[in-house]
Symmetry: C2
Subunit: 265 residues, 2 copies
């Protein structure tokens, strides 16, 4: 053996910095101590301290003179805002969503599909005026294998991607989540034929959801429009109205992305 193979590089300093940033952003607070972060992320305090010092040099975080604690810096928040223009959706998508909610008076969200992660990102939310509403936490990843928000995307993925996702075990999020691949594939066929997905509490108990896919310029799914209705308020007679409104919204956004008209099946 001429050389000990390093094989995998398992330290990944940059990855650690990113994990630190991500943790800070996702944390409800906005000011943190070194040892507190260290405990939470299972990094040695000295490492956290060095990382923060480096990030301070790049203006990502600020050190508070008095307490010695750290916060996110304005420069990072500036990045934050500017990055919004890089979204795969037109800025007007929100307007379409607002119009949809105004039309049916039920809460609507925009889901964005991420290929690497094979998950959906809840990116925007317009709430209905009615008092009973579900709490949707924005900017969180959601599964693609359960709930209308996921299925409306999954159904329209390329054959190969779909097969790969279905070949893995399907997690059950609620009692009505479909965990049988055969049954799920059948459901996906129906969704493709209909052009929308309608589910009852597959991801969140007690919520009915209607979702329709949004297509990009190359015909690929980029996300979906999702209408979420509390089950007690859901009247099946309204289904057509909801479906049409959701599909219209997705179609409008797709059109702005330069997608050609997408015919079912």
């Amino acid at each position: 053996m001429p050389k000990a193979r390093p094989e995998t590089s398992e330290r990944d300093p940059l990855g650690r910095a990113i994990r630190l940033l991500t943790w800070m952003v996702d944390s409800p607070r906005s000011e943190w101590g070194v040892r507190e972060i260290a405990a939470e992320l299972a990094f040695p305090p000295s490492s956290v301290h060095r990382l923060l010092a480096l990030m301070e040099r790049s203006n990502l975080v600020v050190r508070h003179e008095a307490s010695g604690t750290y916060s996110l810096d304005l420069e990072f928040l500036r990045l934050t805002h500017r990055a919004a223009s890089k979204l795969p959706l037109p800025p007007s998508a929100i307007d379409h969503l607002r119009h949809l909610v105004h039309e049916v008076d039920e809460s609507a969200t925009l889901g964005l599909y991420n290929h690497q992660r094979q998950m959906v990102l809840f990116h925007a939310l317009i709430e209905s005026s009615k008092p009973l509403r579900y709490i949707v936490e924005l900017d969180r990843w959601a599964p693609i294998t359960a709930g209308a928000s996921g299925l409306a995307i999954l159904a329209f993925l390329p054959e190969a991607d779909r097969a790969r996702i279905l070949s893995k075990p399907l997690e059950a999020f609620t009692k009505t989540t479909i965990t049988n691949p055969i049954a799920l594939e059948a459901e996906l066929v129906r969704i493709r034929e209909q052009g929308y997905a309608l589910t009852h509490g597959q991801r969140q108990p007690g919520a009915v959801a209607v979702a329709a896919p949004i297509f990009g310029a190359h015909g690929q799914v980029v996300g979906d429009t999702v209408l979420t209705i509390p089950e007690p308020r859901f009247d099946p007679a309204d289904t057509d109205r909801f479906v049409e409104a959701v599909r219209a919204c997705s179609r409008a956004i797709s059109a702005e992305l330069g997608a050609v008209e997408h015919s079912p099946a």
Copy 2:
């Protein structure tokens, strides 16, 4: 000499990664090639490639199979979107700004002060309905030593900070920029007494600006509300109306931040 001092650390891998990210966010495009980035940032192509590969592992960027080019990943955009809640301003600040613009029908911006950088960040913009408007590029850093947007903040900084800033040479951005420290200090006194700043083309030629500071819970300046009016349209008779509207806006935002009433001088 017992030891050769390493003195300064001049490689700073993390800093490079940040510069790369920042450049991508600020770039108008949304897909880049390795050598293109390398040329722009003066990094060796191999370094850029390695950085991108690392960042892909942390889901900051995505590699496009076909072209081999890179884009920002949804996970990064999720981070940035989520970070918005960490801003030092209440979400309702935009509403107050909108109200201000509705009242006077001139464009208004929100400036945020950054202590490390000693600059102002133009963070939000509501435009007037009139056809002649200045183009304000959002999420850009602006100087604190020129223009109403800067002076309204500078005037209310702690004595020590102000002295330090005035001790350095003052850059001239236009012909009317004040570059004499004595003259500037006098102007700042007036701004403090009046509670607002009014300037003619100090930063941008042909623009009149009215700005009033926003204070945080501890009485420190966190930013300002700025009204920008094209000079040809500016009627001095309107000054009082503008000033009152701008100050009211800043006062409303300050109040939501928990600031106590701030009396001039």
